[in-house]
């Protein structure tokens, strides 16, 4: 009972915090001098990237727990997290080019961060497909757990390899904002908090849905 109350509070907070984050991004944070209004995308881009990458960590931890304990909850949470990770990775890959085109002059560049996010998207997509194409729940859990673990170790190596590759060439784009205005930083952390709450709220719903589905099919 207490748990469902807690998640109800998180749901409400997530709903409230998203408009609050919007308010912070558009009214509280100052207008960037050179980039103008397009810089506002930064708050939601960074927040989505944070959730996108953090979700992989949750999937990784749950995958290990599943391989050891074989309990439904860890498999459900790993799956939920990967699904939401795919969603937020998609948001990152869409908001990025929208900002890059007016700022850098190109939609896409093979920068380590961009490329790593893209590869992460492919790993998530593979994970989601794999879940769809295996019917036996026990096999599905095991195979996806293996992919979750391998994917987690692979992503840093991908980043490293792309950085090696790009440092041979002149670095066209210097990534990283550097000196961020304090009010911008506040707005960024509000957006981070809002998206994290959204992630927890969505993950909880997907885990509960998976549990209900399983109960329904075993009852039949």
């Amino acid at each position: 009972m207490l748990k469902s109350k807690l998640f109800f509070v998180i749901d409400v907070l997530a709903i409230v915090m998203i408009p609050v984050a919007l308010w912070f991004a558009f009214f509280y944070a100052p207008l960037e001098l050179r980039m103008g209004a397009i810089q506002k995308i930064f708050y939601f881009h960074v927040a989505s990237a944070w959730v996108g990458f953090a979700a992989l960590f949750v999937t990784f931890v749950c995958s290990i727990i599943f391989l050891i304990k074989r309990n439904h909850f860890s498999d459900d949470l790993a799956a939920a997290s990967a699904g939401i990770g795919l969603l937020f990775c998609t948001v990152v890959l869409m908001t990025g080019p929208l900002w890059a085109r007016p700022t850098w002059g190109v939609w896409w560049t093979w920068d380590p961060r961009l490329t790593t996010t893209l590869i992460l998207w492919f790993i998530y997509a593979g994970y989601v497909f794999l879940r769809k194409f295996i019917d036996d729940p026990d096999k599905r859990g095991k195979y996806c757990a293996v992919l979750g673990i391998i994917g987690f170790f692979d992503v840093p190596i991908v980043f490293l390899s792309i950085r090696f590759w790009r440092t041979i060439h002149p670095n066209v784009v210097q990534s990283g904002g550097g000196g961020l205005h304090p009010d911008m930083r506040t707005a960024m952390f509000v957006a981070l908090g809002a998206f994290t709450l959204l992630y927890i709220s969505l993950a909880n719903k997907r885990v509960r849905l998976a549990k209900l589905e399983r109960e329904y099919y075993t009852a039949e």
């Binding site: 391989l67 590869i119 492919f122 790993i123 997509a125 593979g126 497909f129 794999l130 194409f133 295996i134 019917d135 096999k139 095991k142 195979y143 757990a145 293996v146 992919l147 673990i149 391998i150 994917g151 170790f153 692979d154 190596i157 991908v158 490293l160 390899s161 792309i162 090696f164 590759w165």
Partner: protein
């Protein structure tokens, strides 16, 4: 005693695979023709006689190898699962380590055999001496091993899905990005006669990748092999 058995069983599985392939030579010959086909089709990218072909030779070589390797891995695992061979193997007291390692090493033998024929033909077609630098052998060995290791693991997984042919590349290629990039860059550097210090980092990257994923595979393959 147990260790000895693993070694013996692994060798037995490798022998089985190699003998089976030696009788028919179906997989390796079709892989070779396909790899050559990829090389030929890729050569349409550039104008004949241009130096461009030497600049991208590494990319063409490794892409041809990866594409034909994907087919070979899929086929090798299909012959295990379709006739119930894997189930039969699991019923015997053979350890799972031996089954997994046996598949990895027999796939490795096939990939090396494929390259033993493909590499000279590639050198003729592209007029680039890939073996001018002996370090190329290290790149080939390390990259092929990494490819086959994760390829065997993922082909075991993919063979149990409903869409096995498409699932293997979908799972394997994103994970292989670091070593493919490293192998291509190292090969291109060698073709361009760059000194060792220019590309040693790529070889290191491949070796680190191999070590990390050997360790992880040995920990996680058990639930994948079992039924």
């Amino acid at each position: 005693m147990a260790k000895n058995n693993i070694l013996k069983d692994t060798i037995a599985i490798i022998r089985k695979d190699v003998m089976l392939e030696f009788h028919t030579r179906e997989v390796i010959s079709s892989m070779l023709v396909f790899a050559l086909l990829v090389v030929v089709v890729f050569s349409f990218i550039f104008e004949p006689g241009e130096h461009e072909q030497q600049r991208i030779a590494g990319g063409v070589y490794w892409m041809a190898l990866v594409f034909s390797g994907l087919l070979g891995l899929g086929k090798s695992m299909l012959s295990e699962t379709s006739g119930g061979n894997l189930e039969a193997l699991l019923l015997t007291p053979t350890s799972r380590n031996a089954i997994f390692l046996g598949k990895v090493f027999s796939n490795l033998i096939f990939m090396f055999a494929l390259q033993a024929v493909m590499l000279p033909l590639f050198v003729i077609l592209y007029e680039v001496n890939l073996l001018s630098d002996p370090m190329m052998l290290a790149v080939i060995a390390a990259t092929t091993y990494g490819f086959v290791l994760l390829g065997t693991l993922f082909s075991l997984i993919a063979s149990r899905t409903r869409t096995r042919e498409i699932m293997l590349p979908l799972l394997l290629l994103p994970v292989l990005v670091p070593i493919l990039l490293a192998a291509i860059q190292a090969t291109n550097a060698m073709v361009a006669m760059s000194p060792l210090e220019d590309y040693i980092k790529w070889i290191r990257l491949i070796v680190v990748f191999d070590i990390i994923f050997t360790a992880i595979s040995l920990v996680v393959f058990d639930p994948v092999v079992e039924e």
